[in-house]
């Protein structure tokens, strides 16, 4: 097994645990924004897409990379945007009265 695989597996398992513990603590009130935020974070695959599109190795890889850049970047932009829009709507009753 390649050494890279082992170190990636370490990172994957640790990040999975951190994610699991953090997400259990997120209030059910915010589960919809949680999903749109993690979607936006997941759109970080755009960095891989940029590399594939920009390395310009074959026509096929550049084309596929370019499609992936558009798809993942739209998730990134849209995901952060809608998460913030939703969170702005959540107001506490106390804050409202004061």
């Amino acid at each position: 097994m390649p050494a890279d695989f082992i170190s990636n597996l370490y990172v994957f398992i640790l990040a999975g645990f951190v994610g699991f513990e953090l997400i259990k603590r997120v209030s059910p009130l915010l589960h919809t924004p949680l999903m749109s935020l993690t979607n936006a974070l997941d759109a970080i695959v755009v960095v891989a897409a940029i590399i594939i599109a920009g390395r310009h190795e074959t026509v096929l890889s550049t084309t596929l990379g370019a499609i992936a850049v558009a798809a993942s970047f739209s998730n990134m932009v849209g995901g952060f945007f809608i998460t913030d829009r939703m969170l702005r709507m959540f107001k506490s009753g106390k804050a409202k009265k004061s």
């Binding site: 994610g19 953090l22 209030s27 924004p33 935020l37 997941d42 932009v77 849209g78 009753g93």
Partner: protein
């Protein structure tokens, strides 16, 4: 600066991004810090993208710039959809995320072949299969949520056998490719079969199960990104994918519990087959109904009211009228709270967003487990557009298809009022004994119209007082 040094700086930027990702989710845990979490995520994403654009491997920027602009042009309108449309937007973004993960894997294969090792082939095959099935599955889910595709479960004989055979075919192709990674002609076949499996996976699932499906697809999309991180040896992808994957996983488990389904049942997609139980409905049972005036006077006399909203409330666009009712009653000193079932709405947490949009303070939105103990001390439970989540048969009737599903114990309130168009059974086609109980009053009519009539009565009464 030499290349090795530059590479180290770029790696350092990615480490900062990963830390910010984790902080983003941590801050999202409460509404007070949640927006800071979004900001952390945005900084992380900007940093990672900027660092990548400095990567010396990039030789051509034309397509990168053009597609970044296209991506933003698609993403901004998708970020502006109505709150009722958030579930389909989310399904669509799972589709986009999975699509990009899958096609990057495909590109890696064709760039690498014929130097792809067996181990790399295994990683790529798994990643591309999960990404592809998530892409088509999410598109189907989005189509159902947008009501382009039929909402009801589409089932046929031998469905599970057909689905599992298709999945097996994709896996067999993957194994053949691992044995000899250079058989490039088999690769597209594997992708097509996986795409087809995604369609088969989600098509049988009905509208009522969408909160579970959308969480599960979220999890798949996350894990496909994490696997892509393995393929590309990119730790930032591994972390982001693991966070997204575990998030979807946790939400799926919560949704499963709320629907009383086993996780195995959901994992294999063998769900959505709620048989419409046509258990002999007794026609002679008595239903009591009430007018808006009567409802208003009961609400006025109450000191504790719990509103139980369901997706029907959002369909009728009644949430703003419900807010007016909340304001009017609160002004008169009535304690009004909202009971939120985990599967109210069409995705996890959806009902909270819909009520927050209508300006109802979030500290009035109470989760099921927290509010259930309070129903015996509740004067009025007002049910608007919810049905199955209030059905006491889930507690008592072992023959009921929803037996065992956790419900809101509204039947324990002193008075129950149900706003409903007619006596037609709900989504799952299950009769609700709540409607025939002695303390239940049926308020027949459209949710928006009925609530605004109650508000009018209340304010008119206020003038007289």
């Amino acid at each position: 600066m030499n290349l090795v040094e530059l590479q180290q700086y770029l790696d350092f930027a990615f480490i900062i991004a990963v830390v910010l990702f984790i902080l983003a989710i941590k801050w999202l845990s409460s509404p007070a810090t949640a927006r800071r979490g979004v900001l952390a995520g945005e900084i992380a994403a900007a940093l990672a993208v900027a660092a990548t654009l400095c990567n010396p491997e990039l030789v051509q920027f034309k397509w990168i710039i053009i597609t970044l602009i296209i991506g933003a042009a698609i993403g901004i309108p998708l970020g502006m959809v109505k709150m009722t449309a958030v579930p389909q937007r989310t399904a669509l973004s799972h589709a986009f995320g999975a699509l990009s993960a899958a096609i990057i894997g495909i590109a890696e294969y064709y760039v690498g072949v014929p130097r792809v090792t067996r181990f790399e082939m295994g990683e790529i095959a798994l990643e591309v299969i999960i990404g592809s099935l998530t892409f088509t599955g999410s598109l189907i889910a989005a189509g159902k949520l947008q009501e382009i595709l039929p909402q009801r479960p589409i089932t046929y004989r031998g469905q599970n056998i057909v689905s599992l055979s298709v999945l097996s075919a994709a896996l067999v192709l993957a194994v053949i490719l691992v044995v000899n990674p250079n058989q490039a002609y088999l690769f597209p076949a594997m992708v097509v079969v996986a795409l087809f499996f995604g369609i088969l996976l989600v098509t049988p699932i009905g509208g009522a199960d969408m909160p579970t499906v959308i969480s599960l697809l979220n999890s798949y999309a996350g894990f496909s990104a994490a696997l892509l991180g393995f393929v590309l040896n990119s730790k930032v992808l591994v972390v982001a994918g693991a966070l997204d994957g575990s998030s979807g996983f946790v939400l799926s488990v919560i949704m499963c519990k709320a629907m009383n389904r086993s996780f195995a049942n959901v994992m294999f997609g063998a769900f959505g087959q709620v048989q419409a139980s046509s258990s002999a409905v007794q026609e002679d049972r008595v239903v009591r109904s009430a007018t808006p005036e009567e409802a208003a006077s009961i609400l006025e006399a109450a000191s504790r009211v719990v509103v139980v909203p369901g997706y029907g409330m959002a369909v009728a666009q009644a949430q703003h009228k419900v807010r007016e009712l909340y304001d009017t009653l609160t002004k008169r000193g009535v304690d009004v709270r909202f009971a939120i079932h985990p599967v109210a709405g069409r995705m996890p947490g959806h009902m909270n967003v819909l009520l927050a949009e209508a300006d109802i303070p979030y500290d009035r939105l109470i989760e099921m487990d927290e509010i259930n103990g309070d129903f015996p001390q509740t004067d009025v439970a007002l049910i608007i557009g919810a049905n199955d989540v209030t059905n006491p048969a889930a507690r008592t009737d072992k023959s009921s298809p929803i037996y065992g599903m956790p419900i809101l114990d509204v039947d324990k309130a002193h008075t129950v009022m149900v706003i409903k168009r007619s006596m037609n059974p709900g989504f799952a086609g299950i009769d609700n004994p709540l409607y025939y109980m002695d303390q239940t009053l049926m308020l027949f009519g459209d949710a928006k119209g009925f609530v605004s009539n109650i508000v009018r009565e209340l304010t008119a009464a206020g003038v007289h007082a």
